[in-house]
């Protein structure tokens, strides 16, 4: 762009004429995300109590290697270095974690809450230097659509987990029988909420049709774009609901597995 001389001044950190509780939303975001990061990291490092009957904690799904019956390729591989901590969750959590970290909604939220960039709208910032997502490192956020591809695969896997959570072993006959426990509902809602969040992704909205200038030439693209737009309008809501519920799903399976909670069989 041509050089224009625009002599204006910045505010100091936190300086504003706003009278409302502008700090409330970034503080709530900071506490909500911090609580999730602390709990999920703790749960991922446990490597235990992540299954109960047919239930598998979403933090550990898919279980690529691991000791449980849900494991795809058997127990921890022999070639795994002895000095490196093993937990099935650590093999997979980078994918949904990366999807959330690079999500357009979360980016805007944590730039405010964690980096005060800005602390809130029309509030002074702590730093003068600014590169935004224009250069390294934040330019890497553009990888988001690749995490989307993985997140879509995870939705299929978690849907399959919800199906498996509908099968129970009959204590008398030893046969598998269809049923519904509270855990079934917890894991089914988990995939519904995660799906609602994922299907509202801005990258998905672009990929299904938003990138076209003439949508009407492809009725399928137009229909998909409208559906994704519906979810996209509620992206923030589903981002928080699904974040809370995926953590709760892990907690539910964990507490059932530890014998602290009993899973109530409904059907």
């Amino acid at each position: 762009m041509a050089s224009f001389d625009v002599p204006v001044t910045s505010s100091g950190f936190g300086q504003t004429s706003r009278r409302d509780a502008w700090w409330l939303q970034p503080v709530a975001t900071f506490l909500g995300l911090s609580a999730f990061i602390v709990y999920s990291t703790w749960a991922a490092f446990q490597g235990d109590h992540y299954t109960y009957q047919g239930y598998l904690s979403p933090f550990y799904s898919p279980e690529i290697f691991g000791p449980s019956a849900h494991s795809w390729f058997g127990p921890k591989p022999a070639w795994w270095p002895a000095w490196l901590l093993f937990s099935p969750a650590l093999l997979i959590l980078w994918a949904p974690g990366g999807f959330r970290f690079t999500c357009y909604y979360y980016r805007g939220a944590y730039y405010k809450a964690f980096w005060a960039d800005p602390p809130s709208c029309a509030v002074g910032e702590p730093r003068n230097a600014y590169r935004g997502e224009h250069s390294f490192p934040l330019i890497l956020q553009n990888v988001h659509r690749y995490f989307l591809y993985l997140a879509l695969a995870f939705i299929l896997i978690l849907a399959s987990d919800a199906w498996k959570a509908m099968w129970f072993t009959n204590a008398e006959t030893g046969a598998a029988e269809w049923g519904v426990g509270v855990g079934t509902i917890v894991l089914t809602l988990n995939v519904v909420f995660l799906g609602s969040y994922t299907f509202g992704c801005h990258s998905l909205r672009h990929l299904v049709g938003g990138g076209r200038d003439i949508l009407s030439s492809s009725p399928l693209a137009l229909k998909l774009w409208k559906r994704v737009t519906w979810f996209n309008c509620r992206h923030m809501r589903f981002a928080w609901i699904s974040l809370f519920w995926v953590g709760f799903s892990d907690l539910y399976v964990r507490l059932c597995s530890m014998g602290i909670w009993s899973d109530w069989r409904i059907l």
Partner: protein, 243 residues
């Protein structure tokens, strides 16, 4: 008549201060009415830009209690008058006097954007055919009244003064309107990345929050443009397989 105290910025580029004006207002008044009342009764030299008083000309942009708003669309009944009401000029643009800023920079940015370049006419009579589904997206952006409140609140301009590198949300929706126009064949994607500094936007959605026309600036314009830039410059699979 209820009373209120207004604290209004008085001064020019060389300096100034907030001055207090105790006043009365009537039910139904907006902030611009009270500013005019103060201008008529107490401060005849108070500079303030306005025109339509109907939220359509975008002239009376200011910061009311620290929030970028149109003075003509801010009802007194929505403000807490138990404390002084602060009215300041937009911070992002150079101050001329009192509540009036120089927004000329915006006009110069607009001149740098590639104009609409229509495809060849669809019919022999030189006309085009468009479907409503294709023009709806771009129509949202045509609601813009160029009040520049989004430019004012954008921290890239307000705090970091990237006026020479970043076009700002108002012009990103202008570009989105052109880019998504089904008739347009011009390519603005390389300019978006470099000349207009799209990457500086870190999606804090402040522009969307202050827009008096309730245009969904970030979700419907800026992020779709970011995705078009990703298509062209940052997606190796897209480059490999085309599309």
């Amino acid at each position: 008549m209820p009373d209120a105290t207004f604290r209004i910025w008085r001064g020019d580029a060389s300096g100034g201060a907030l001055q207090e004006y105790p006043t009365f207002y009537e039910n139904g008044m907006v902030v611009l009415d009270v500013i005019h009342k103060i201008q008529a009764e107490q401060a005849q030299d108070l500079a303030c830009r306005w025109n339509c008083k109907a939220g359509k000309c975008g002239s009376c942009s200011a910061e009311i209690n620290g929030k970028p708003k149109l003075m003509c669309m801010t009802r007194m009944s929505d403000l807490d008058v138990s404390q002084p009401v602060t009215v300041q000029p937009m911070q992002t643009f150079p101050l001329l006097r009192d509540l009036v800023t120089n927004v000329e920079w915006n006009y110069r940015v607009k001149q740098e954007i590639k104009k609409l370049e229509p495809r060849k006419p669809d019919a022999p009579d030189g006309t085009w055919r468009m479907q409503q589904a294709d023009v709806e997206r771009a129509q949202e952006f045509r609601k813009c009244i160029e009040c520049y409140l989004c430019q004012d609140v954008c921290h890239v301009l307000r705090e970091h003064h990237k006026h020479n590198e970043f076009a700002g949300p108002r012009f990103l929706i202008h570009i989105a309107q052109l880019e998504m126009n089904p008739l347009d064949v011009a390519d603005r994607v390389p300019d978006l990345k470099d000349r207009h500094g799209l990457g500086y936007c870190n999606i804090t959605k402040c522009c969307t929050k202050v827009c008096p026309e309730e245009i969904t600036i970030t979700d419907n314009a800026i992020i779709p443009l970011k995705e078009r830039v990703v298509d062209r410059f940052y997606d190796p699979l897209k480059k490999l397989f085309g599309g």
